[in-house]
Amino acid sequence: MDSITNKRIKQVLKGDQHAYSEIVSLYQQKVYQICYRMLNNQHEAEDIAQEAFIRAYTNLHTFDLNRKFSTWLFRIATNLCIDRIRKKKPDYYLDAEVAGTDGLDMYSQISSPDRLPEEEVEGMELQERIQYEISCLSEKYRTVIILKYIEELSLQEISEILNIPLGTVKTRIHRGREALRKQLSNL
């Protein structure tokens, strides 16, 4: 996949815009999936996923062909999703994370304060429930959990995508798992 991608990238850089459609075909599912899991909304996910491919296209000349294209592309996509989420979310949500940076007992405050009523959550289909529980995570933990368990990327790749140290990725995954555990055991 990487060698086909690099071939197409070179064609695009030479002015063959059409070659880009193959790149979009190759990566559309993963990019859209990240956006959908992050944003929990089909229309927003579609819009942001398209935007990610457009950004990648306009910045393609800055991409280093010795690196992995998916890492670079996923970084653009996750950044756009995080921007979108931050624009929407109220301030107290951000503050909760600062308060909970230490210790393992602050998770309940880190996850979204307004969960749906217990009965409604219990009535959900499995897939709906998975999507819902992921969406209840704060954006920091949601991102790493999606990249790790939905996209099945290595911790090293996640660290490159999010441009944060490996240790920070681990910490976030640990806290993300604890937050999810708490959400699931509350019921």
Partner: protein, 206 residues
């Protein structure tokens, strides 16, 4: 669980990440053997992972690729034209000479200073701006000279703007979009459309 060593939960996560030192692992095993609370905690974490991993792949919406390709920024005409001149200096000089000498070109250029546009039903015109109204789909190509075009609806065809701007709120255009602002580019447009065949012969002879 309050009396459990603080690092036990940390070891659980190291274990789940698949990178735990063997002495940590031994300590964890020993503790889990004796502590039902931590066993429960560990089991819940494993269930949590299995739960998230149960997510099925999300399908991309139909026409996703087409929509991305349509939203890509247009390539600059200038680039292609300059490269063309560089690659075909003699051919272009000959062509320019022929075209400049022809009376039809000169009169054609003069006549083209007027605001004009392709007549299509459903188009609105405000001053020097042609508007494709919201909710309307124009079938066929649009050519606007010495004015702007604003696309609020959709265009099923190419758009060419000579001496004007292309603006869009929906960017729902199936064909090519070209802006031609300078005389040279206008000339390029003429060459391309009137002498496509001649040029392809030159190209093939290379």
């Amino acid at each position: 669980m309050n009396t459990c060593p603080k690092e036990i939960v940390q070891y659980m996560h190291e274990y789940l990440d698949g990178d735990i030192a063997s002495e940590h692992e031994q300590e964890l095993q020993k503790h889990l053997y004796n502590c039902s609370d931590c066993r429960k905690h560990m089991q819940e974490l494993e269930n949590t992972i299995a739960f998230v991993k149960g997510a099925i792949a999300i399908a991309t919406p139909p026409r996703f690729v087409d929509q991305v390709m349509q939203r890509l920024p247009r390539r600059k005409m200038k680039y292609g034209f300059q490269r063309f001149i560089r690659r075909h200096p003699i051919a272009i000089a000959a062509a320019l000479f022929c075209i400049f000498m022809s009376a039809s070109f000169l009169s054609g250029y003069k006549n083209d200073q007027q605001f004009s546009y392709t007549k299509q039903p459903n188009l609105q015109v405000e001053g020097q701006t042609v508007i494709v109204p919201e909710g309307e789909t124009i079938k066929g190509d649009l050519l606007v000279k010495n004015g702007d075009i604003l696309v609020k609806g959709a265009v099923d065809g190419d758009i060419t703007v000579i001496n004007g701007k292309y603006m869009a709120s929906s960017a729902n255009v199936t064909g090519q979009i070209e802006e031609i602002d300078e005389m040279f580019e206008w000339l390029w447009y003429k060459i391309k459309n009137s002498a496509k065949k001649a040029w392809s012969i030159i190209d093939n002879n290379e």
